[in-house]
Symmetry: C2
Subunit: 460 residues, 2 copies
């Protein structure tokens, strides 16, 4: 126990330096979806390689057909081994004018409740979170000269774009990656005071569709009504995706979606979740999903369809009476339980094709696909982590569901055969993917301390 | 007749200079909808003032709350007077990458059928057309030292943006503007060999709507389904605008829309209109409008609703699982016969409001509104113009309908109490409002000659 206390003290003493390191990585514009930032993503990977090597890892940025995968090993010692996963790429920052600062010039400032926050793109998703783990390793190494258990660290650069190159990488390096447990820091606490381990993850299918009509933009005065308008075709397709009760209308969409097990239903009912406050915090009040479901079910255990982007025709200032040649949309489906991502994709494509007039055509771009997943919270590693988190935060860590999709968790399970423990320190108001993303300073500091404790528990 | 022949000969001899003048004005980037081009629009107005003065007009660019109105007078002589209207502003040029040249560096080249065309933004709409009239005046003046009839020329700089400042200008200058007949050159021929006078014009109402939901962009994994998605709300609104038979569903939309008079029905049935060729030319084959109407009815005499633009969420490369804070669309309605533009606007707004959830809100921007209009083709000026056009082209000029809206024609009728004769030399494949807009060189040359003849006929 003396070792643990000394390492925790080291974390406290070294916090300013840990923040300097975090800020250095937050300044790198690692926007994976935009080819203009390719060199920045590479620079970010190189930064992590050097950083891991400074802690005593052997590390390398592995080239892929997309952005690099950083992989580091520190396998001295005995005990159960772990593979940590994080991602160093970030979402685009538009609309830039809504940021109160340069998204890539992080600052520490008072948050809405007065507590300090780290503001900047990637502060919560996922650079701030992944660095809590790296800093925990650094503190152990500094104090004891080693790590409590054999560790590998895997950092992805394409999580925000579907991560199509990671599964082949996992397959190709399976032997090198295999460990007793996977660890991921990319999820939220239950609330600002209550830590949580997420044991259910929704899956996801993402598709981009483009409707092509006339071979050029047309004047709506000459061709209006007579010529197919791809905006109208697209609006019909997207509207038809939902029925009046808020259910998704794709054929077979709810196959493999059971009612919640009674035990989980009871456990969730015991959570102090306030749907009104959850929506009120973002300026809304009416749950928009399936009419007969609670908000918690909507965001944790029910499948969804969302139109993440759509566009066609003239969108500038003023008016242009054009009928565009094409219109497109990006649609994502969150999947639960045993929904088959490939079947959902096929059903969606058939649904779209059925609604495209015979003289028009549709083009599909398929992005990532991942099944939903559940991990066994009764397994020893989960109980140990729960104890460590509860010790650090002074409240019992909760096992929760969650709406986000972390495809790599499913991939680690299916390709490497490992369970994954998802413990993260994000908060619901972190504005990830939005302007003014932030990460609570307490999340960063106590997050590092939490991993110090989890590594200690896992070694016992 | 000697005078007329001499003037026509002068037109032929001066064609190269007329083209130089046209090119000079085509090079000016007078995109009225984009504030970035405000100075260019002003420069274009100034160009016309100087040009009209060089022909002997007294001319001035009148300031308005928007872009200037150019007004020139040449009122010597006797006979029935005329007010000519044209517009010197142009549509935006995006998508720029589809142009085969700089849209503002006009060229003369072989068109698809081999005949020469003038290519560039505004070549047909409306700089090329309005210059046919100006050049006709220049030729008369050069040969005879005067014009056949007293003339005023009115050139608008906001036609492409709804022209909200023109009606107040017409009211304020009514006495100065009044004449026996209005002349407009902003319409098409029946085909490349057959001139036409358009005696029916659809009206138009244009609206922009923005749906606001959450107070920020959201992560669809955390908020999907629970939080209102403005893309989904907008898609539903836009899809609901049409029923399965292709009719517009707004309450009272078809009030004031009678069946075509038998005489007009017969006259149109006699036109050699090929719906298959009309759609085939733009790469389509299935009429998209009301199921029980002919294509000619759709584009000439039936009201329409078109989604000219829509957008919300992430539209860049790749994927971003965002639920946007807002989404918007630009919708235009073409009106016929006695439809009331204000009632249509009100019905649309009520229709939209009804479909916006109580925790979201909608914002409207109303652009122009104009009633449909018909002019008396049996009146003397129309018969004279028909004769002049038939003489020039060697085929009888047709009286036709038309799908485009020229709100100023309705304004001239209602505010100044004048009939308007619409004679233009555009062709259906001119790609106005689209990349690679062109104007046939024959349209320009014989268009000038046509106006020379019409002015002569009107003086008789």
């Amino acid at each position: 126990m003396a070792g643990l206390e000394a390492v925790l003290a080291r974390v406290d003493a070294d916090l300013d330096h840990a923040l300097e390191r975090l800020f250095a990585v937050l300044r790198i514009k690692s926007i994976s979806t935009d080819p203009a930032y390719k060199a920045d993503v590479q620079a970010n990977a190189d930064w992590h390689v050097a950083d891991l090597e400074s802690i005593g890892f052997t590390a390398k940025a592995h080239a892929t057909p997309g952005h690099p995968v950083v992989l580091g090993h520190h396998r001295e010692g005995s005990g159960p081994s772990a593979l940590f996963y994080g991602h160093y790429d970030v979402q685009p920052v538009d609309p830039l004018e809504l940021w109160t600062q340069d998204p890539f010039e992080p600052v520490i400032e008072a948050g809405e409740g007065g507590a300090k926050v780290i503001r900047g793109r990637g502060s919560a998703d996922d650079k701030g979170q992944l660095m809590t783990f790296v800093e925990a390793c650094r503190a152990w190494k500094a104090v004891t000269g080693s790590l409590p258990i054999p560790l590998s660290i895997l950092l992805e650069g394409e999580e925000e774009t579907g991560g199509v190159n990671l599964p082949p990488f996992l397959k190709a390096h399976a032997d090198e990656l295999k460990a007793d447990i996977g660890l991921i820091c990319d999820t939220n606490m239950w609330d600002a005071k209550t830590p949580a381990i997420q044991t259910m993850l929704r899956g996801m299918v993402t598709e981009e569709i483009t409707i092509h009509a006339a071979d050029r933009d047309l004047h709506s005065g000459f061709y209006g009504s007579a010529a197919a308008n791809p905006n109208r075709i697209l609006a019909r397709i997207l509207a038809d995706l939902y029925d009046d009760a808020g259910r998704v209308t794709l054929a077979g969409f709810y196959d493999g979606v059971p009612e919640l097990p009674e035990s989980l239903k009871k456990s969730w009912a015991g959570l102090d979740f306030d749907a009104r406050a959850f929506l009120g915090e973002i300026g809304l009040s009416v749950p928009a999903g399936e009419r007969d479901r609670s908000v918690l079910e909507m965001v944790w255990s029910r499948p969804t369809a969302e139109i993440n982007g759509m566009g066609g025709g003239y969108q500038g200032e003023g008016f242009k009476t054009v009928i565009p040649a094409k219109a497109s949309a990006k649609v994502s489906f969150r999947l639960v339980f045993d929904q088959d991502p490939n079947k959902v994709r096929d059903a969606f494509r058939a649904f779209v094709r059925k609604r495209v007039p015979t003289d028009c055509r549709v083009e599909f771009i398929g992005y990532g696909a991942a099944s939903a997943i559940r991990f066994p919270n009764e397994a020893p590693a989960f109980a140990k982590a729960q104890k460590a988190l509860s010790d650090e935060w002074g409240r019992e860590a909760k096992f929760i569901g969650g709406g986000g999709s972390i495809p790599v968790a499913a991939d680690i399970k299916s390709i490497l055969g490992m369970d994954v423990m998802l413990a993260g320190f994000g908060l619901n108001d972190d504005r990830i993917h939005s302007p003014n993303e932030k990460y609570s300073l307490a999340s960063f500091h106590k997050g590092i301390r939490s991993w110090v404790r989890i590594l200690d528990e896992l070694s016992r």
